[in-house]
């Protein structure tokens, strides 16, 4: 064989070895940077284009042909410890860290609100059920302003304000909302201000147009109008996002939205706050500059349809209980002359004009529904609901009363009632979802081999400690092959603390796996173990993996 052939032969061998290494590396379960705290966005998205959400198409598709991946699989954007990394969709706030009262009050606000003085109207928004203006304040900042319906003062603006604070704390991108009083005489009309007539014609705005719009709004006793001012969102608006699929022109948008945990979790957050109007039209994507490149930021823009009120009046009786169309219920009601009964027909309400129909005594988070089936909700599993419920339960009574106070309700009884209902609904969410699966959380392993963990259901006081205690099965885990080899005996404890058995590895870079189950006859699902993985670092064990296995019946919840 010539030298050339030998060289070529070595190249072949080298290529296959490299390929083998590549395959091996691709198969490893954990990388050095696991768990990632932030979802990387490495590509420039400046070529994304605005798209138009067609409301009726969105409605019809979601009602009659649920879109998205038919598989009910684990959320795809969680990191290896089953948490949602920060991203252009979500920022970990409550539960991930301490949240101060000041932060809760401030919400996403970065300014004190519209500057005092004259405001210039640059555009009117007469269409829609909730009319408003676009104004520029005396500092040149653009604000979108909306008002309460004449018969329901403080209702729509108060709900939007409170929900804005809640969803900000929960981690969603929210516009900056402020409540302010508008003096109509301080409004001037900009030279290029336009409005759309009922015929669809765009023409110059005049004073009469403004008066017509204000004529539909609630006026306060001092002649001012209470307005909800929403600061223009930074970046170029490029439409909204759907609750399924990905944005085809955003290279960083890899995970189908129905498989994003923070979107699935809106099923629980929506139930808590009664956010029934979940549609693409209430979301907004903007193109912003970050780390020197353009990326798409996803806003949950309109969370105003919350609690017991809509934009103009209290909620319809069945909202939160039924989709706009449910074939089965339609036929049953049709043939029974309406005698087919549903819970919404008898739920008692204490109605305040500024709160509407919102209650916490009969509320069942597992049966709550938005107006239209939402693809991400239909894919939510017990582990997604558990993740969301922990965040809801992290709202203390004090924190809830703080965010409700942001609504500046003049009726103290109404404000107290809204907070009371949110507290009751929070607790019902805890009871429903924290107890549904093995609630072991916060696993840690110290240098001495002491394993500690918590029980989210017990800590939230929605369950008692498991009668049979906890059991742990210990394994040495081979990160390259994915194989686990048991070591030591099964350990057990009545509380969340136990010592590793003999044989715990201690070389840097080694992995162990621990399967932890809780034994409690009233909660058979708790015996399905959670798997936690630790990697040995120089002087500690680092949690690198957490998997919540579900019983088959829970995978589609």
């Amino acid at each position: 064989m010539s030298n050339r052939l030998r060289i070529v032969g070595r190249v072949i061998v080298a290529a296959f070895v490299a390929a083998a290494v590549a395959v091996s590396a691709a198969d490893q379960k954990f990388y050095d940077d696991d768990p990632i705290p932030r979802e990387p966005e490495t590509q420039d998205a400046s070529k994304t284009q605005s798209w138009k959400n067609v409301l009726s198409y969105d409605l019809i598709q979601n009602l009659f042909a649920p879109p998205g991946d038919p598989r009910l699989i684990r959320a795809q954007n969680v990191n290896t410890i089953d948490e949602v990394p920060d991203s252009s969709w979500f920022t970990n706030r409550i539960l991930a860290r301490e949240v101060s009262i000041q932060e809760a009050t401030r919400g996403p606000a970065t300014s004190p609100g519209p500057a005092a003085g004259p405001m210039t109207v640059t555009r009117a928004k007469p269409e829609g059920i909730s009319p408003g203006f676009v104004v520029q304040d005396s500092a040149g900042v653009t604000w979108f302003v909306q008002f309460d319906a004449a018969r329901y003062p403080e209702a729509a603006t108060g709900a939007a304000m409170v929900a804005n604070r809640i969803f900000h704390l929960l981690g969603y991108w929210q516009p900056e909302y402020h409540l302010a009083d508008l003096q109509p005489e301080m409004l001037t009309i900009g030279p290029n201000a336009t409005t759309e007539t009922p015929s669809g014609k765009i023409r110059r705005l005049d004073r009469a147009d403004l008066e017509k719009l204000l004529g539909r709004a609630a006026r306060q006793q001092d002649g001012t109008y209470r307005m909800l001012a929403s600061r223009a969102i930074p970046g170029r608006v490029i439409g909204g996002f759907r609750y399924y699929g990905t944005r085809p022109d955003d290279p960083n948008d890899l995970v189908p939205h129905e498989h994003r945990r923070e979107l699935r979790a809106l099923k629980v957050f929506g139930a808590w706050t009664n956010l029934v109007d979940m549609k693409a039209g209430n979301t907004l994507d903007t193109l912003i500059q970050e780390s020197g490149r353009s990326v798409v930021r996803h806003y949950l823009q309109d969370v105003g349809s919350t609690f017991g009120t809509g934009a103009l009046a209290p909620r319809e009786w069945d909202e939160g209980y039924e989709y706009l169309y449910e074939g089965d219920a339609v036929w049953k009601r049709l043939v029974t002359l309406g005698f087919y009964r549903r819970p919404w027909q008898s739920v008692p309400y204490t109605e305040y004009r500024s709160v509407g129909r919102f209650e916490g005594d009969e509320f069942d988070p597992t049966t709550w529904k938005p107006r239209v089936p939402t693809a991400a909700f239909l894919h939510a599993r017990s582990d997604d609901n558990f993740w969301a419920a922990r965040r809801v339960m992290a709202f203390s009574d004090e924190l809830i009363r703080t965010v409700v106070a942001a609504g500046r309700f003049s009726d103290a009884a109404a404000e107290r009632y809204l907070a009371d209902v949110l507290i009751k609904r929070r607790d019902r969410i805890g009871r429903a979802y924290l107890t549904a699966i093995n609630p072991v959380v916060d696993a840690a392993l110290d240098q001495a081999g002491i394993l500690t963990f918590g029980n989210a259901a017990v800590e939230a006081e929605v369950a008692t400690a498991p009668a049979g205690g906890y059991r742990a099965h210990w394994y040495v885990f081979d990160n390259a092959s994915g194989e686990s080899r048991p070591f030591g005996a099964v350990t057990a404890t009545a509380a969340g603390r136990m010592t590793a058995p003999m044989g715990l590895p201690n070389r840097q870079g080694e992995f162990i796996r621990i399967d932890i189950e809780a034994v409690d006859p009233p909660h058979p699902s708790w015996t399905v173990p959670i798997r936690v993985y630790f990697r040995r670092t120089t002087d500690a064990w680092k949690l690198v993996g957490l998997e919540r296995s579900l019983a088959e019946s829970q995978k589609s919840e």
Partner: protein, 401 residues
């Protein structure tokens, strides 16, 4: 194999291996970055499908839905009993929400109407609407069974009436729950030989049995009405009520007979039961010639039958100087946002004297209906009703009351 061939094959193998085995990621971030890089190569803007394009156009008012502007396809009714009418219209907007609308309609029974209408709403802080029309219509085969509650179906004759009119109206809403309407105009009527399967009216009736038969009067007409209402929408409501009274007077400029007038009353009340699981809807209405001496042409007399009156009877089945109508519906809602059902009972009568409007000898029908609606309007109402003259199907766009 030569060195050269072996080398080429080897190169091909290496390239193939490199292509088929993905480059390895050394970190999670790297792994995701590679996927994002791959997507960037194929990134393309969102493209709406055909259904989205179509629905977008519908939302923008094209086709049959939405606010008409420019040329549009018009649908509606020309005259009671004429059947569904279709045609074309053109609407031109002036200012914010005022418009001039021209339309021409032709109904299933050949009734015709051409109309130019101007409408300018929301004056005086939204309290005053003004409108005016000039129109011509031709109803070719309107039913006439004779006067009275005891008229017989076999006596049916048809008359043809052409009406040219110019009218104006002002609606004033001093408060949110009260509407006052003032309207008036000039009506020019021409009677012609009725068409259709039934004999023409002049073959079966005389001016004694059909007052002012053969007359072509020209009237100066005026009406004043007041309505107290707390309905969610006049086109669709599940609660609230409407109480109205109207007085209308006709003064002949041409033709026989003298001045005559009508008083019309209507009481509508919707009573929701158990959070609108059901709604009991009740209506009582009367229409009455004001003075005993009034001579009213037969074609302007109060009528009952079909439409939104006695739904189990032919259109305009009963006709006389006075009428009484009592309607009740038990409505239920298979679907809150679009589908209602109703069981209904209609009762009514006509009489030559006001004292005849008693609860004796009421004509009665009952039936079931289905209604497709939006939050503020009834798009389609289909009622099947049975009276003592058989079963009838009513298809209408708009609420029964």
């Amino acid at each position: 194999m030569t060195d050269s061939a072996f080398r080429r094959m080897t190169c091909a193998l290496v390239l193939a291996s490199a292509w088929s085995i993905p480059a390895s990621a050394q970190s999670r971030t790297d792994e995701i970055a590679k996927q994002q890089e791959a997507k960037a190569q194929a990134a393309a803007p969102e493209t709406p499908n055909r259904m989205e394009v179509f629905l977008d156009q519908v939302e923008q008012g094209k086709f049959l839905l939405g606010v008409p502007r420019g040329w549009y396809f018009a649908m509606g009714s020309v005259y009671p009993g004429g059947g569904l009418a279709g045609g074309a219209g053109y609407r031109h907007y002036i200012g914010y929400d005022s418009f001039v609308d021209s339309s021409a309609l032709l109904s299933l029974k050949g009734y015709k109407r051409v109309r130019v209408r101007g409408f300018t709403p929301n004056h005086v802080n939204g309290r005053v609407d003004l409108e005016g029309s000039i129109a011509w219509l031709d109803a070719t085969q309107v039913a006439f069974y004779g006067l009275g509650n005891a008229s017989r179906t076999e006596d049916r004759a048809n008359f043809r009436i052409q009406r040219s009119y110019i009218e104006g109206a002002a609606v004033v809403r001093p408060v949110r729950w009260l509407g006052l309407r003032l309207d008036g105009g000039i009506d020019d009527y021409t009677q012609k030989v009725g068409t259709g399967a039934s004999p023409s009216i002049e073959q079966a009736f005389t001016p004694q049995t059909a007052p002012l038969l053969g007359d072509d009067p020209l009237y100066l007409r005026g009406q004043v009405s007041a309505a107290a209402y707390w309905l969610a929408s006049p086109g669709y409501s599940r609660n609230g009520g409407l109480y109205s009274v109207a007085y209308e007077e006709f003064n002949p400029i041409r033709g026989s007979g003298g001045t005559f007038g009508f008083v019309r009353t209507q009481l509508v009340q919707h009573v929701p039961v158990q959070r609108e699981t059901w709604v009991i809807s009740l209506r009582a209405g009367t229409e009455s010639v004001v003075r005993k001496s009034d001579v009213v042409p037969y074609f302007l007399m109060p009528t009952l039958g079909s439409g939104d009156t006695l739904r189990g009877y032919e259109n305009q089945r009963f006709r006389d100087r006075h009428s009484l109508l009592l309607t009740s519906e038990l409505r239920w809602f298979p679907n809150r946002v679009g589908l209602d059902m109703a069981l209904f009972v209609d009762m009514g009568k006509v009489a030559p004297f006001r004292s005849g409007l008693t609860l004796n000898d009421l004509k009665t029908d009952y039936g079931i209906g289905v209604r497709f609606h939006t939050p503020g309007a009834t798009a389609l109402r289909v009622d099947v009703a049975r009276g003592d003259e058989g079963m009838r199907l009513v298809i209408a766009g708009g609420p029964a009351f």
